[in-house]
């Protein structure tokens, strides 16, 4: 039994809201309230749930974009939630994130090569711009784009193309864990299919582990090995993909699956 790549134990991320007025009561929003799971090397675990269930917060906590309130998270056996920024930096190469909004996730002022080159220089993967450009060209081809695009700016590209660039930014570092936060939710259906296929192929080819966060059960079915269903900050059911989709145990999972509108072609359910 190999060690899991990622092990989360009882993760909690709570937010304090400012009370109304001078003496108003401060409310605590328990966005993530006791979440535990493992991800093995090369495995894709999906976190699925509706808005407000805390799935995005889990992803953001793991990348230190939000501060965990309590609990532990271990990457290759190393506790990383409480690490200081400088200490955590080398781990950032291994734990990467794909963001939801293709239009907001790329700095509009920078050329694509600058955006893709930034992580290379930060982690010392190359010393000169010539070296960087070689690596950038390679990754752009891997995600299905012409290397010439590196000299252009984000606004010249469509949503699907920008998302490919976002994926390139993540994969150029060859991370061990990729957190995809609603990575295809903002894309049109036909583009979504292209990008999903790309993500699946990249994951298979590179053996990277993924924490795939989504509200779309169809997408989750397509991409995952295991699925965790979240509701109000907690995981209500977790298991193998087929277990969850074919024999859901928890009432909420069943409710979710039952609410999805389906297309019937002819007489058979699609």
């Amino acid at each position: 039994m190999s060690e899991p790549l990622l092990r989360i134990s009882d993760l909690k991320t709570h937010f304090q809201t400012k009370g109304a007025g001078l003496f108003g009561e401060k409310k605590v929003i328990k966005a993530v309230d006791g979440v535990s799971f493992d991800i093995a090397p090369g495995e894709v675990l999906s976190l699925v749930g509706e808005s407000g269930c805390g799935k995005s917060t889990v992803g953001r906590t793991l990348t230190h974009l939000e501060k965990a309130t309590s609990g532990t998270a271990q990457f290759e056996g190393q506790d990383f939630l409480a690490m200081a920024p400088a200490e955590f930096r080398p781990l950032r190469r291994e734990i990467q994130m794909i963001f939801q909004d293709p239009f907001a996730s790329l700095n509009p002022r920078l050329k694509i090569e600058q955006t893709l080159g930034e992580p290379l220089f930060i982690h010392g993967l190359c010393k000169t711009w010539d070296e960087a450009r070689i690596m950038i060209a390679a990754i752009l081809e891997t995600v299905g784009m012409d290397p010439i695009v590196m000299t252009r700016h984000p606004h010249e590209f469509s949503g699907g193309q920008r998302q490919r660039i976002g994926i390139a930014r993540v994969m150029i570092l060859k991370p061990k864990l990729v957190i995809a936060d609603e990575a295809v939710s903002a894309l049109d259906v036909s583009i979504q299919a292209q990008v999903l296929n790309l993500i699946k192929k990249l994951q298979r080819d590179s053996g990277v582990s993924m924490l795939f966060i989504s509200h779309d059960l169809g997408v989750v079915r397509h991409i995952s090995d295991r699925v965790a269903v979240m509701f109000e900050g907690r995981i209500v059911e977790i298991g193998d993909k087929h277990q969850i989709f074919e024999t859901p145990q928890h009432a909420y999972t069943r409710k979710l699956l039952g609410s999805i509108p389906r297309v019937t072609i002819g007489r058979e359910v699609a």
Partner: protein, 341 residues
């Protein structure tokens, strides 16, 4: 929930029967940087009482602009209707004087939008907003209006309606706000309801409730509904007829049953195959290659040909005419019905 019950109500277009809403050869253009760019290029469809028409398409197809055109919300100089006609209950909406237009809007024709938070005014109570709509079109006292609003809120299944009537939009959840929008839209018993992506911003469980509600209301009040969505599943489960739009043209139109029994246009087929389904494992999705051309990209021939597996030189040079693939099932494709080998 199955879709097989839907689609049995098809409008029989007798030569003398006028549907409630008839759109013919509608053309809409956008003026950008001094040029007039066509966005919607000649689409035709109709909806009748007690019927739901689904308009499905992705971004850039022009479906939202179409709905705004019907409601008369295409103001200003940048977006203009450049051709075609829209007839509602026999009246030509495009030549109707402004005053008569306003008498219909919100009254006999109503619209609900995608983002319930931005379509409700955040500084007014929801009850007051519905009352405003009521009193705009009917001479009704304030207390009578209030009673009617409570009635409406009950109809849309908002719990404790007599208290909720005084809530502000931000005090309600997304699903509840959308129900308030539906209540406002239905307040004057409209004959036609246009719903532009009404459930896209909602969770899937809430979406189911809202769609069930709309179907139930249609049964009770006989309203005609135009439902615009990018979600084929939603369309399949709620609509009687479907119109598939691609880059300003009507790729395919048929009753729901007919459409899903045999998809004639390669785009529709591609769209369906792109959807990752919940009930089955698929190794690789059959994605449609390429992307929707931008407004400025001038195309000859069929708008879909650069992405189509069946495309030939004919497709690149000739815009396909609308043909009757089967009775009641129209397509715009030179190779309608052919499947790529």
């Amino acid at each position: 929930m199955t879709a097989s019950t839907r689609g049995s109500k098809t409008t029989l277009r007798g030569s003398d029967h006028m549907a409630l809403l008839e759109v013919e050869n509608l053309e809409i253009a956008v003026s950008a940087r001094g040029k007039l760019l066509p966005v919607v290029q000649g689409i035709s469809f109709s909806v009748d009482d007690n019927e739901t028409l689904g308009i499905v398409g992705e971004s850039g197809c022009g479906k939202s602009l179409t709905s705004l055109a019907i409601m008369g919300l295409l103001g200003g100089t940048t977006v203009r209707i450049t051709g075609g006609s829209i007839r509602f209950d026999g009246m030509d909406l495009l030549t109707l004087p402004e005053k008569d237009r306003r008498a219909i809007m919100g009254n006999r024709m109503a619209m609900i939008f995608q983002e319930p938070m931005t379509s409700l005014n955040p500084v007014y109570r929801i009850g007051d907003q519905i009352i405003e709509n009521l009193r705009q079109h009917q001479s009704i006292s304030n207390s009578a209006a209030r009673d009617r609003v409570v009635e409406l809120l009950t109809l849309v299944r908002i719990p404790s309606p007599s208290e909720r009537i005084d809530s502000f939009p931000h005090q309600m959840s997304g699903g509840q706000r959308q129900r308030v929008m539906i209540a406002m839209a239905l307040s004057c018993d409209p004959k036609l309801l246009i719903a532009d992506e009404p459930t896209t911003a909602l969770d899937v469980t809430v979406q189911k409730e809202v769609l069930d509600l709309m179907a139930d209301l249609q049964k009770r009040m006989g309203t005609a509904i135009v439902l615009i969505s990018h979600d084929l599943g939603v369309i399949a489960e709620t609509c009687d007829k479907v119109a598939v739009m691609y880059r300003g043209r009507m790729a395919e139109a048929a009753s729901t049953a007919d459409l899903f029994a045999e998809l004639a246009h390669p785009y529709t087929r591609g769209l369906l195959n792109s959807i990752p389904v919940v009930d089955r494992d698929v190794e690789w999705l059959e994605a449609i290659p390429g992307r929707v051309p931008t407004l400025e990209e001038n195309l000859t021939g069929c708008a879909f040909h650069p992405r189509c597996a069946l495309a030939t030189e004919l497709c690149a040079s000739n815009v396909p005419a609308t043909t009757e693939f089967k009775p009641g099932h129209s397509v715009q494709c030179h190779f309608a019905g052919k499947v790529a080998s």
